[in-house]
Symmetry: C2
Subunit: 117 residues, 2 copies
């Protein structure tokens, strides 16, 4: 079981269009596991809701009540998945949300017309 999955077009076939084979199901599950974690969801929401569109790492440790290494780990999982961008500026890294992986996951969860209707 892969821990860190890059969320790209390959990971995210439409779930209900045809039976997923084992490999496709493993990839999509791994992509969903990146998000299925409360600390990562909170980090993403803090970064996404910021009016400046980007957040310094120094603002991300306090709100969650987690240790700095734990926060760094989760930020790395989100960065490796492609959900957030990262830039180092002097002492601190800055993060912003990249919309494409969420678009891909939403596409994977879209029900075909015969089910939505």
């Amino acid at each position: 079981m892969k821990l860190i999955q890059t969320i790209d077009a390959e990971c995210c076939p439409q779930l209900l269009a045809e039976p997923l084979d084992e490999e496709a199901a493993d990839r999509l599950a791994a992509a969903l596991r990146v998000l299925a974690d409360p600390a990562r969801l909170r980090l993403l929401s803090i970064i996404g809701a910021d009016p400046n569109g980007e957040v310094c790492a120094c603002q991300l440790t306090g709100p969650l009540g987690l240790s700095q290494p734990t926060v760094s780990h989760h930020l790395r999982v989100l960065t490796d998945a492609g959900l957030i961008g990262r830039e180092q500026r002097g002492r601190w890294a800055y993060f912003w949300v990249l919309p494409e992986p969420l678009d891909l996951l939403r596409g994977a969860l879209t029900a075909p017309a015969r089910i939505s209707a």
Copy 2:
């Protein structure tokens, strides 16, 4: 950590609209964990892709190569989450996909305009 989460309106605030508090993040993570499992994704995709719109439990054990109790467990998680409906007819249960929980999860993963743009 709740194992089985019903995926209803309460579980699924828009992830990037404002910082999620701990409780909201726990609920959304639990909802995503229902899907973040390869066996459950495969069961959902087999049920969703069926041209009749419903599948007998007797057709769901073979394709996954899992034991009948394991398949039953995953079907119960999906049913309790509200992702599939279930009806007992004589000896066998029949399952079909319910679109609303997937709609709610897609809504939660929608990026606000300032990020999509």
